[in-house]
């Protein structure tokens, strides 16, 4: 889910901030600058891991700040393709499911990669997996409703450079980082389907 990325940047420090320990000032500045930001082709920045190198401080004429070149490592959220991740369902529509890992909510499972055979219930706006049972009983309906914990496989990480001059509405639709996932495999879907307790649940449904 997470990777460590090495980066270089220039941090400017105001004179009054020099009274504090230099390392913690830089840490704070970098965290403020990058935390919760998406860097194109890199991922969602979480927080600073460590500082590798703190360069010399440069003073420029007409500027009271000290400019420091720093090399550091940042924790970045960028799952690799094929990775299995657990997430919660937060929304479902005819197009598919939207999942959330609490700090990141642009995970989308398109309808065609839900566990097959899948059916969409128009009234409730919910997807369910028609679990084929042995014997001639009708198939069980295993629902994928919002709030459930599911497991999915990462298919693609999509990065998009979003222009800063968009209106609010346009900006809401655009996603700078989106993860496309799939659930069409044994073991994927609701976690409770596959654990011991889940099997019992399924058995119960079969009995019904």
């Amino acid at each position: 889910m997470f990777v460590l990325s090495e980066m270089r940047d220039i941090v400017s420090i105001l004179p009054h901030q020099l009274k504090n320990d230099l390392k913690s000032v830089i840490t704070l500045k970098l965290n403020k600058r990058f935390a919760n930001k998406v860097i194109i082709d890199l991922g969602l920045c979480i927080c600073l891991f460590d500082l590798i190198e703190i360069g010399d401080t440069y003073l420029l004429p007409g500027d009271g700040r000290g400019h420091i070149k720093v090399k550091f490592r940042f924790i970045v959220f960028r799952p690799f393709v094929e990775e299995i991740i657990e997430a919660k369902v937060i929304a479902s529509s005819k197009l598919g499911l939207t999942l959330s890992v609490n700090f990141f909510e642009d995970i989308f499972i398109p309808a065609h990669s839900l566990p097959a055979p899948h059916v969409f219930e128009e009234n409730e706006q919910l997807w369910y997996w028609e679990y084929q049972q042995e014997d001639d009983e009708p198939p069980a309906k295993l629902y994928l409703d919002p709030g459930k914990v599911v497991r999915f496989r990462v298919v693609e990480n999509i990065f998009k450079d979003i222009k800063p001059d968009l209106s609010d509405e346009e900006a809401k639709k655009q996603k700078s980082f989106e993860i496309i996932g799939s659930m069409s495999e044994t073991g994927l879907g609701c976690t409770s389907w596959w654990t011991q307790g889940g099997e019992e649940e399924e058995d119960d449904q079969m009995e019904e």
């Binding site: 990777v3 090495e6 390392k23 919760n36 919660k88 609490n102 700090f103 496989r153 044994t186």
Partner: protein, 190 residues
């Protein structure tokens, strides 16, 4: 800003959680106006996600132990990290994580052994919290209501027992944090 190396290494969830907790503790020392909204929200949300995953219970020694135990299977780093993050408890889950599982882990027994190693009692996940557990409030004291009250009391008793264990966890957490807080000034000095 310039990215030098897109991926130095993959980080297991527990290590991310450790740094997040450290950053949180560090942040606590700063005056409120210096805090960044983005950072706070993100740290909080990340920690909340990990709370429900096996990462919250893992320590360095668990990682080292599992890594050693998985050596004979010749798994890739990515696969090992996923086993650490998910702690698969069934063979199906292992097959998801390990590529071409049938060819690499040939016998059922080997697979079973791997599952056993992956599921460590001490790192077993706590189930995701269910918010819809409360029951309806009734104002009239009827026979039914009295029974409800009794049930309530029973439940409270159970809750307090649960709370006891929670308290225990939080105490451990405090100890853990305390040691971290002491570590930070040292780090700052070096």
């Amino acid at each position: 800003m310039e990215v030098i190396n897109k991926m130095v290494t993959i980080l297991p969830n527990m290590q991310v959680l450790k740094v997040v907790e450290e950053t949180k503790a560090l942040r606590g020392k700063r005056p409120a106006d210096e805090e960044s909204e983005n950072l706070n929200t993100l740290l909080h949300e990340t920690a909340a996600y990990f709370k429900d995953t096996p990462a919250s219970a893992q320590k360095d020694e668990h990682v080292i132990k599992l890594n050693q135990e998985l050596q004979p299977y010749k798994l890739t780093i990515a696969e090992t990290v996923q086993i650490l993050n998910l702690r698969p408890s069934t063979a199906v889950e292992v097959q998801l994580v390990v590529e071409e599982c049938e060819e690499r882990i040939r016998t059922e027994e080997e697979l079973e052994a791997l599952v056993k190693k992956a599921v460590d009692e001490s790192t077993r996940r706590r189930s995701w919290t269910n918010e819809n557990l409360g029951f309806a409030d009734s104002k009239v004291l009827t026979e039914g209501r009295r029974e409800e009250l009794f049930d309530d009391m029973n439940q409270n008793e159970e809750e307090s027992r649960c709370f006891g264990s929670q308290k225990f966890v939080s105490t451990i957490h405090q100890c853990f944090n305390a040691s971290e807080k002491q570590d930070i000034p040292e780090q700052a000095l070096t």
